[in-house]
Amino acid sequence: MTQVPISWFLTLSAVLFVLGVAGFIFRRSIITMFMSIELMLNAVNLTFITFSYELKQVDGHLFVFFVMVVAAAEAAVGLAIILDVFKNRKTLNIDEVDSMKN
C-alpha cells in the first residue's frame, strides 16, 4: 500500500482552512459563518496532528485537545447568542444585525 506523504495532509489542512475563510467572508447566514469557524479550527487541528506525527511528540495532541474544548465552549455560547439574536430580530442575516454601526 502506497503511503500518503505528510505534505498532502498539510495541503488538505490548508484547503480546509481556506474553505472556512471563504465561508466566513462570503456567506451572510450567522449559522453558516459559525460552522466556517469550526471548519477553520478543525483544519488547524489536522495540522497539529500532522506535525505531532512528524515530530514524534505528543504535544500536538494536547493542543488539539485544548482547541476542541474551546470549540465546544464556543459552540455552546455562540449558539445561545444566535438564538437570542433570532428571537429579538427575527433574522439570521448578519447584515441586518448592525445596531452597533454608526
Binding site: V4, P5, T32, F66, A72, A76, D84, D95
Partner: protein
C-alpha cells in the same frame, strides 16, 4: 442529482466498510484524539447545530448586499492564500516521508493523560474554568427566553 448524491455517499460508505474489514491496524496513532473528535463533534457540537437550525427554521439566505470589494477581490485573494500555503508546504516538505499506520504510537490515552496532568496541568485547569464560564454564559443566555 439525487441519484448522484446517493451514489457518492454509498461509495464512501462501502469503501469505509471495506477499510474497516481489511485494515490490520484499526487505529493509526491518534487514538485519544480520534475518539474525542468523534464524541465532541459528532456527539455534541453537531447535535447543537442541528437543534438550533431546526429551532430557527431558517430559510435560504438572502443574496444581496454584497460589497463591491468582496465580490471583486475575495476569490482571487483566497486562491492566492491557498497557493501561498501550498507553496510553503511543498517548499518545506519537498519529498516528505509517507505516513504509515503505527509510525507514532505516542497518542495513546496513557501518554496524553500523563502529559495533561504534568506538563500541561495549568492550561488544563484554566480550560476547566473556561468551560465553567461557558456553561454559566449559556445558562444565562437561555434563561432570558423563559421569563
Amino acid at each position: 442529482m439525487d441519484v448522484t448524491i446517493f451514489l457518492i455517499f454509498a461509495i464512501i460508505a462501502v469503501l469505509a466498510a471495506i477499510n474497516v474489514v481489511v485494515q490490520t491496524h484499526p487505529i493509526a496513532s491518534a487514538e485519544f484524539i480520534a475518539a474525542a473528535q468523534v464524541i465532541v463533534y459528532a456527539g455534541a457540537v453537531m447535535v447543537l447545530f442541528v437543534f438550533v437550525i431546526m429551532l430557527l427554521n431558517a430559510g435560504a439566505e438572502a443574496r444581496r448586499g454584497r460589497s463591491f470589494m468582496a465580490s471583486l477581490l475575495g476569490a482571487p485573494v483566497l486562491i492566492a492564500l491557498l497557493a501561498l500555503l501550498a507553496w510553503f508546504v511543498e517548499r518545506i516538505y519537498p519529498e516528505s516521508m509517507g505516513v504509515h499506520f503505527g509510525g507514532f504510537t505516542g497518542g495513546s490515552p496513557q501518554a496524553i493523560g500523563r502529559a495533561l496532568f504534568t506538563t500541561y496541568l495549568l492550561p488544563f485547569e484554566i480550560t476547566s474554568i473556561l468551560v465553567l464560564i461557558a456553561i454559566l454564559g449559556a445558562v444565562v443566555l437561555a434563561l432570558k427566553e423563559m421569563d
